[in-house]
């Protein structure tokens, strides 16, 4: 305890240096926390689960996948034909509608990207929305019920609502960009919980499909995308075995000839999309993050080196007073570890709360992810990064204190 007290007092002796070093640690830990959170999220999204498998059915070859909506019913049943066949526990269809609320200006402040789906599936199949805490879940359930009653109801994420300068209750027309001549008149009935879906929207699939039917009735011919409206189907199965059997059922089904379809795990599907970003993510993981860690260690090492050089006399006195070389080494390292650990912890904990609670995630659009939450692990990463880099940075200056010779120091003084 006395030892710890000594370390604290030493740090307080040069408040400016302690402040500068800890500020350096904090900002660098902040960046590391952001980078590791993005990489951690993507790693999780691309690593296979052992249970509660989600499969993604898409067109076999082409990207973007555009299947006929007639595939939906068969795929939702897992293309099962016999009694022993596997049927998905749950499923969900995805139709993407891209539009603008200003026909003349297509830009950031008018752009709408919507998933057209069964509203209830938001609660059971959508990542993160299927595991909301009770409060936000109850709110979302209410919105879903409204969407089921009002087919023209739409949910728009908070950031998109702000960009569009609209609010819940407003009625808007979304002019189709990918569905030419399909304009959807919708009423904003709610928003998503703050986070991953801040820039997305959700429209009831029945409304889109009814609009396509209305187009056919109006023009006498089907819309040019009429047979290409189904972009993805998600199916949920309990385990890998069921997933493999489902794959066999879908691959052998004569129903999916033109276009052919494929099923892959959600993790594999995400990895597919991220393949193009492989080099960028490699740079994040193996160049950027290590460089920041090295810079961090260097900043700490510099501060400790200066401190050791300035206190050679003091250390010689400690030796005279009976402190052993290892104790002095411990004292110096203790200062570095305390400074690094506390500054790192403060930084990552503050980052966790500020980014998740205030910003609603790290705004870094990549593939189909618009923002990333700071990982729960960040609550302890900061302290760990601070401690490890402080250890690495201070070990050499600390070891140098062992070689301080009392005679040399005092002969200079004399």
């Amino acid at each position: 305890m006395r030892f710890l007290n000594l370390i604290f007092r030493n740090l307080r002796r040069n408040v400016l240096r302690s402040l500068l070093t800890s500020t350096g640690v904090m900002v660098l830990v902040f960046v590391i926390t952001l980078i590791w959170s993005i990489l951690g999220f993507l790693d999780r999204a691309t690593s296979e689960k052992s249970s509660n498998f989600k499969g993604i059915v898409t067109e076999k070859w082409s990207i973007p996948s555009q299947m006929p909506f007639a595939y939906a019913r068969t795929l939702e049943n897992g293309a099962s034909r016999e009694d022993g066949d596997v049927r998905p526990e749950d499923s969900m269809t995805w139709q993407f509608f891209i539009g603008t609320i200003d026909k003349n200006v297509v830009g950031f402040n008018s752009f709408v990207f919507a998933f057209c789906m069964e509203p209830r599936k938001l609660l059971t199949m959508m990542d993160e929305l299927d595991s909301l805490p009770p409060g936000p879940k109850a709110e979302l359930e209410k919105v879903v019920e409204t969407m089921e009653k009002n087919k023209q109801g739409v949910i728009i994420g908070q950031k998109r609502l702000d960009a569009l300068n609209k609010r819940v209750g407003d009625k808007i027309t979304i002019f189709g960009q990918n569905y030419r001549d399909i304009d959807l008149e919708v009423e904003i009935v709610g928003t998503f919980p703050i986070g991953r879906y801040d820039n997305n929207s959700c429209i009831n699939r029945e409304y889109l499909n009814a609009s396509l039917d209305a187009f056919k009735a109006r023009t006498g011919k089907p819309h040019r995308l009429a047979e290409k409206t189904l972009n993805l189907v998600w199916v949920r199965v309990p385990d890998r075995e069921a997933f493999d059997q489902l794959g066999t059922q879908i691959n052998s089904s004569p129903f999916f000839a033109a276009p052919a379809v494929k099923i892959e795990t959600a993790s594999s599907g995400v990895a597919n999309f991220l393949a193009g970003y492989k080099d960028l993510l490699t740079i994040f993981r193996w160049v950027l993050a290590p460089s920041i860690l090295i810079t961090l260690a260097v900043v700490i090492s510099n501060a400790i080196s200066i401190s050791v050089r300035e206190r050679r006399k003091e250390m010689a006195v400690l030796k005279v007073l009976g402190f052993r070389p290892n104790q002095i080494l411990g004292l110096v390292m203790g200062e570095a570890l305390l400074l690094g650990g506390i500054a790192g912890a403060i930084s990552s904990i503050a980052t966790y709360y500020f980014v998740n609670k205030v910003l609603g995630g790290i705004p870094f659009p990549i593939a189909f992810f618009s923002s990333f939450p700071v990982e729960d692990g960040a609550l302890w990463w900061g302290a760990a990064i601070g401690l490890v880099t402080a250890f690495v940075g201070s070990i050499i200056p600390a070891l140098s204190t062992r070689s301080i010779k009392i005679v040399d120091v005092f002969s200079k003084v004399a």
Binding site: L16, R17, L20, T21, T23, G24, V25, V27, L28, F30, V31, E59, K60, W61, S62, I63, P64, F96, I98, F111, F113, G176, Q177, N178, R180, R224, L225, A258, P259, A260, K262, A271, N272, A275, G276, Y277, K278, D279, L280, I283, V287, L288, S291, I292, I294, T295, L296, V298, V299, S301, N302, A303, S305, I306, R309, E310, F364, P365
Partner: protein, 456 residues
């Protein structure tokens, strides 16, 4: 705002940095403090000097590398377009992948007077662009397990190459009129003839097994006659396109009527029109998109872009990456500034007596300030130059990434470009870090009273 983030103008930072260095030297000369005094002090505290410089080197090295990556993407998208060409997509489409064009609409548009003619025929390229999900079985260590392969189906490759301004590398051929050739294994369907961009030829070449590699003519890249297996179909390389430095570098070209049905793409996605001049292209873009309500194309509703505008829009990803990199660079630089402040405050506390003597000798506060600022900027310059040199080592490295204008994206192969602009950013940031890192400590030095300094 956009101009602020335009790397094309960043080269100006290089002469600006050199001017800042000259100005500093001029101030040091005017301050009449011998340079050797500062240099000896840095030498005396060589460990601290080196550690501080290493922090600068790390920050600037990473920044130069990241900026080189983004600059490579910028150069790629900006050098892909021909100003005389106009790209036509279906209305509402900004990406070729989701465009669908009717043949009759394309034929009508191709007859417009702005379109150049070659003999009796309009000079245009009718294309079906598709992105194919290519699984890679047994990938080589460090290689991807899948790739988004960009395939462009063409009616007439010679006309298309003329429109896009590409030619084949020596020893290459275009795919035949049939677009296929007999398979060695007669039980299998004919092989699809393809022409590859140089970049994708390198990428696909790197996926070959050691046995395939040992028997190939070109170890670094696929070459004419090589085979690519794409699920159950066999593709044979007819030729390699000279496409280095453009987005077409990542494309596979094949006969549309052959490749389209294989991958379920039976429609055209893109029409590229060659006009007489840049002005004609802009006029045609305006006419087709109805920018002028009194003079617009009314037979079909389409989206049109001059090629430079189209490829510029693909640079949106670059802007996002650039903003992200600038954010990270500023934060890292802030950390570096803290490091140099520590060093300079320590230098001042060790040299309080020196400062007192200098003041008693008649040196003014500003001269002391310049002296300490010079030291911190010298450390920054040394570390920054080393960082720039390390970052420069990445120049020319081949990378893959994605460029996008919103929905849809293009996977591209490109090279990192560390040019004068990138080096200018690195050097300027380094000097700024040195300046701000040294300013506060130097100010604290001039506030010291001479006699107090001498008392220590």
């Amino acid at each position: 705002m956009m101009q602020f983030f335009d790397l094309a103008n960043a080269w100006m930072l290089l002469p600006a940095s050199l001017a800042a260095i000259l100005l500093t030297l001029l101030l040091v000369w005017a301050a009449k403090i011998p340079l050797i005094y500062n240099l000896r002090n840095l030498q005396l505290r060589y460990r601290t000097t080196l550690l501080t410089a290493v922090a600068f080197t790390m920050v600037i090295g990473v920044l130069t590398f990241m900026m080189g990556f983004i600059n490579g993407l910028r150069v790629l998208t900006q050098s892909s377009g021909i100003p005389e060409n106009v790209i036509v997509l279906s209305q509402g489409s900004t990406d070729e992948g989701i465009s669908t064009l009717a043949y009759e609409d394309m034929s009508d548009i191709a007859q417009l007077p702005q379109v150049t003619r070659q003999g009796d025929e309009p000079l245009c390229s009718r294309e079906a662009y598709m992105v194919i999900n290519q699984p890679i079985d047994d990938p080589q260590p460090g290689r991807p397990k899948r790739r988004l392969l960009q395939v462009r189906g063409l009616d007439d490759p010679v006309v298309s190459a003329n429109v896009h301004g590409f030619e084949l590398l020596p020893g290459s051929n275009w795919f035949s009129e049939a677009g296929v050739r007999a398979n060695i294994d007669t039980d299998k369907p004919p092989m699809v003839e393809v022409v590859l961009g140089e970049g994708i030829a390198r990428e696909l070449g790197a996926d070959r097994s050691p046995i395939e590699m040992s028997s190939s003519k070109d170890k670094a890249s696929l070459s004419p006659g090589d085979i690519i297996q794409l699920e159950s179909r066999t593709l044979v390389v007819a030729g390699i396109l000279k496409t280095e430095g453009t987005t077409f570098d990542s494309e596979v070209w094949a006969k549309r009527s052959v490749i389209g049905p294989i991958f379920g793409k039976n429609n055209y996605t893109t029409l590229v029109l060659k006009t007489q001049s840049k002005e004609s292209a802009m006029e045609l873009e305006s006419f087709l998109t109805g920018k002028d309500p009194d003079n617009k194309y009314e037979k079909a509703r389409v989206n049109a872009f001059t090629e430079p505008n189209f490829f510029k829009s693909l640079g949106q990803t670059n802007l996002q990456l650039l903003i992200g990199t600038i954010f990270v660079a500023i934060i890292m630089a802030f950390g570096g500034v803290m490091g140099v402040m520590n060093t300079m405050f320590a230098a001042i506390s060790q040299r309080m007596k020196d400062i007192g003597v200098l003041r008693l000798l008649g040196y003014g506060g500003w001269q002391i300030l310049i002296s300490f600022l010079f030291e911190s900027m010298l450390i920054a310059l040394f570390g920054g130059l080393l960082g720039c040199a390390i970052g420069f080592l990445s120049n020319g490295i081949s990378m893959t990434s994605v460029v996008s204008s919103g929905p849809g994206a293009k996977a591209v192969v490109f090279r990192i470009v560390v040019d004068a602009g990138v080096l200018g950013i690195g050097l300027a940031l380094s000097l700024m870090m040195g300046f701000f890192g040294g300013l506060l400590p130097a100010q604290s030095a001039i506030r010291l009273k001479p006699l107090d300094s001498l008392r220590g």
